[in-house]
Amino acid sequence: MITQKLNDQITRIGPNTPAGAVHRQYWQPAALTDELAGANDPMLPVNLLGERLVMMRDEAGDLILATREASADEAPTHHPAREDIRLVEGGPVYPVVEKNGICFAFMGEGEPPAFPNFDCFRAPESHVFAFKGLWECNWLQALEIGIDPSHASFLHRFLQDEDPSDGYGKQFRDKAANTDMPITQVLREYPRPDIEVDETPFGLKITSLRHMKGGLTHVRVTNQIFPSAICIPMSREMIITQWHVPVDDENCYWYTMFTSFDKPVNKELMREQRLKEHSLPDYAPLKNASNNYHYDPEEQKSLTYTGMGMDINVHDQWAVESMGAIQDRTREHLGRGDAAIIRYRLLLRKAIKAVQTGKLDRLPMQDMQTTPEIMGPLSNDAIADSDDWLGASMATDMERRQAAPWDATV
């Protein structure tokens, strides 16, 4: 449990808020390249960190975010037509950099930081697919589900396993490394992971250990990338790097870069899988609170833990939206399974203090020299002899990096 004052401090992100100032020290996903639709002269409405903006090109042809006029009662993801967009004369203008399908904006003062050399940025364009979706809740609860390794054993439980060979482009459908067990079965049978959390130059490394029969351990390594992203394995071939970007205090977008270590990503298939679950232009999910996420009590009895279908994104969306627009953390009771959440909040509070006292060098990934040297991060599933889980986790990662057709060495 935390106080209301602290909950406000770590969740609210508008201009001149403590957590908002931390976010503004980092590149933020602002739009998908897909949304620009190849236009030479784009005018794309962007709603980010409580500001009303438009993505366009400046006189030099570079992408920028400019401020647009907005009425106070605009919907959070309001998307005015081109002819209705009015720029604010003399309003803030922010730089934009496009990386493998996502346009990142820097909304802070001074020089933007360098990009770290994560796999999603290093991989060629052919090996990265980007997509986004709206969740109607505060960004922090959206991030916190991503650094909570134990929920996967419950929220995403399938009471029957699918054939992993049908699982392209979907989470948890692969077999666990070196076994014939689908990951879904490992998660279901071993629901009480030991969780280790280590601070890293980019945020946190989160290791979940599920000790299995026969002296084996399932090791799942996921990561928190400061301030609002995670990097997690999706299959043996692909990892997910996902930002939880505030639209305003009560809405956020997830932006995901799916990065393949092996074959080029089948972007048409992955786009089609996801477009049929969302409506444009605001990428709002078709299953949502207004239709009870298509909740089916019969399905909940026999097939899925939630009764909300096989798409794990919908399970996560339900979990975080059902807490309310901003989770009331004055009533929460965190357990040992929430170790990474507790650790992350400490990082965020430290960062808030550093920004308030002008000690920006204490924030992760602000150093221009060392940030581009940050690689990886290691993000995978492995099953190994329990006495060598760490070595096995590293070896599994190195194996796919060495076999990758692009330079994935670390």
Binding site: L155, T306, S322, M323, G335
Partner: protein, 132 residues
């Protein structure tokens, strides 16, 4: 019932919160707002009614979508399980040696069913007689 015998701080009346029909389907779980709180009403496997806080005390997920099993309601987020008194009985994602669940209890209210209607009382101890 006699108002005079009740101390002023004790709620003296039962409040109608739902009709029995609300729990008529195969999954007898329904959202209820009463006493200024969002609650979940359910019938357990012993046929008894529970009226408990709607949001999981762990991280706030909505128990109205909970799994109706094991004589109570189970949160789909991490499997925390609650009985009709609001007591947490299991935390299946926590380490085996954890006893944290014993200290977790949701608010709960006394409920009775009478003539096709369900009434709740928000006080402690012995409730007043229900004239319904």
């Amino acid at each position: 019932m006699s108002q005079a015998t009740q101390p002023e701080t004790v709620p003296s009346t039962w409040v109608k919160i739902a009709s029995t029909d609300a729990l008529a389907g195969p999954r007898p779980v329904a959202p209820v707002t009463a006493f200024g709180q969002k609650l979940v009403l359910f019938r357990d496997e012993e046929g008894e009614l529970g009226l408990i806080g709607r949001y999981c005390p762990h991280r706030g997920a909505d128990l109205c979508f909970g799994r109706h099993e094991n004589n109570g309601i189970r949160c789909p987020f991490h499997g925390w399980h609650f009985d009709r008194s609001g007591q947490c009985t299991e935390q299946p994602a926590e380490p085996v040696d954890s006893t944290m669940y014993k200290a977790i209890k949701l608010p709960s209210f006394t409920v009775v069913e009478r003539n096709g209607e369900i009434f709740a009382w928000s006080g402690e101890g012995t409730p007043p007689v229900l004239d319904a």
